[in-house]
Amino acid sequence: MTEALRQHCESIKAAYPEAQSALIPILHALQDTYGYVTPQAVEEAAELMAMTPAEVEGVVSFYTLFHRQAKGRFHIQVCDNLSCRLRGADQLVAHLAERWRLEPGAASPDGLFSLERVECLAACGYAPVAQVNLRYYYHLTPEKADQVLGGLADGEEARGERI
């Protein structure tokens, strides 16, 4: 762990009235740094929080946003819950498989993209909805998905859209 990261984590800890509240924010910070919650990240969080690695594992495994393996540089979370299904989420997933060779749960061979089907993203009126690196993209028709992914493949950043 770099000194800067350690200091950042210590400042998170200091921000809460009870240090225990810092665990999830610290795990977010470690995941943002390492790409996913690596075994090393679990050890580091445990040490910072004065917990056992098993206790940290228990928390990590509860939450779907904590990943245990490498994701693509752009991690795409497609909602396929009720409202998005009514507006073409399945077609979107099928299109990502066909045109972009993306399968849920896996990263593309070049490491650029990974795909995950997720539960409702609380944006059901703008369906189908997806997030790229937790930034929202709304009304994702296959054509629009091609534009977004194409832009990212060409070096754009995932900025998301404003509602």
Binding site: V59, Y63, S83, R85, C124, G125, L134
Partner: protein, 425 residues
């Protein structure tokens, strides 16, 4: 009936997420009134008088909830529940992303009213953009003297903090949320004690939904009686209805409580071209279906409860005639199976079992006995689980079997979905 925009009055104003534009449209006027001209007790009284009921799903009167805080000298905490994850619901998402200052203003006023020196906004982990917008809004509010030490030159100080969860629907349940905010797995707590007596860090805590806290702003500005004059007697005020599904203009629409379902559908542009109405889930995936018979039903807490469903979070999902109820219901159960926290057996095992039964029914491999099994399982889950998730998980299924039994039967007599066959040709 036309829209009555109160919370969303300025939602479409360009740049409203910035302090300058928000102030130009009357922003922080209520805060000035509340903090410099009213006592905390007067602000709380206005909320009590307004009859405002919690917008997170349960509809508990907000003023009464606040009055349960014990007067024992311990510091109090206000927590905003921004974990919105109920399928079909996207009003908090809209409020946070469009009107971050409205939530900040509502938080400060509410914390003042209950005498809390500390408050948290618990955002679902996916609201990263919302987190950044709120961070910005809080920094602006602090610089303007609305937040932090000596708010508006008074002795009132508030430490407001943002917190991002990490993906778990159950963390919307207020006690699971508190556990998550304390850095643990989000598992519901035993009640009592209620958060009002032992909440975050064991301190007296109020948990309120985003929309509830936003509503405090116009209530303080215009008075409790004004709010109460809108809506119905038992469900006063306006409500943001999240309209999604087979509609031409899905989106958030704010109406007085008790608006007719048909008016909401009309506001959202009506059904998609060439489609007709089949059913509606009126309060997120935790609510039982209604059919065309109820197309003019008044969308308030009591009327919907009397009809065997609920207003819940106000997430209205409209289904057209091309939608297969069996498949749709199965998908809802997959959600609940996935999100069950696993603490109690009826919910953990029951949702798994119901998902399996619904899956075979969808594939046309079910039997008549399966339909009774679904109703049986529903009965054994509803009311028998540790938290309200269990009731929520079975509402759509149980009502689907009652309202659409023939559609289930058609699946096993045709060995598959008749609607799908029709479409594929």
């Amino acid at each position: 009936m036309s829209e009555s925009k109160v919370l969303l009055a300025n939602a479409d104003v360009a740049g409203i997420e910035s302090l300058a534009v928000y102030e130009r449209h009357g922003g922080y006027r209520a805060l000035k009134k509340g903090i410099t001209q009213m006592t905390a007790a007067e602000v709380a009284q206005a909320v009590l008088d307004s009859g405002l009921r919690g917008r997170g799903g349960a509809g508990f009167p907000t003023g009464r909830k606040w009055s349960f805080l014990p007067n024992d000298g311990r510091p109090r905490i206000l927590v905003c529940n921004a974990d919105e994850g109920e399928p079909g619901t996207f009003k908090d998402h809209y409020l946070i992303h469009r009107l971050p200052h409205l939530l900040v203003e509502g938080m400060i006023l509410s914390a003042y009213a209950i005498g809390a020196p500390r408050a948290f906004i618990y955002l679902r982990g996916e609201f990263l953009q919302g987190y950044e917008l709120l961070e910005q809004a809080m920094a602006e509010a602090t610089a303007a003297g609305y937040l932090g030490e000596h708010i508006l030159g008074t002795d009132y100080a508030l430490d407001l903090q943002l917190y991002r969860g990490a993906g778990a629907y159950i963390c919307g349940e207020e006690t699971a949320l508190l556990d998550s905010l304390e850095g643990r797995r989000g598992i519901p707590r035993m009640k009592p004690p209620f958060p009002a007596t032992a909440g975050l860090y064991g301190l007296p805590t109020v948990v309120n939904n985003v929309e509830t806290l936003c509503a405090v702003v116009p209530i303080v500005e215009h008075g409790g009686a004004w709010f109460k004059s809108m809506g119905t007697e038992k469900s006063p005020g306006t409500k943001i209805y999240s309209m999604s599904g087979s509609l031409q203009r899905p989106g958030n629409y704010e109406f007085e409580m008790g608006v007719k379902l048909s008016d909401l559908i009309e506001a959202a542009g009506g059904l998609l071209p060439g489609r007709s109405f089949k059913a509606v889930v009126p309060g997120g995936a935790s609510a039982a279906y209604l059919t065309g018979e109820h197309i003019d039903i008044a969308m308030d807490y009591d009327t919907l409860a009397q009809s065997g469903t609920m207003l819940g979070s106000g997430g209205v999902i409209v289904l057209d005639d091309s939608v297969c109820i069996v498949s749709f219901t199965r998908r809802a159960m997959e959600f609940f199976r996935h999100e069950s926290c696993g603490k109690c057996t009826p919910c953990r095992e029951g949702t798994l079992w119901m998902d399996q039964v619904l899956s075979r029914l969808e594939l046309g491999q079910g039997t008549e006995a399966d339909l009774n099994l679904l109703l049986d399982l529903s009965d054994n889950i509803a009311g028998r689980t540790f938290c309200a998730f269990g009731d929520a998980a079975v509402a759509m299924v149980a009502s689907s079997v009652r309202l659409f039994r023939q559609e289930y039967v058609d699946h096993f007599t045709h060995q598959g979905c008749p609607l799908l066959r029709e479409r594929v040709g």
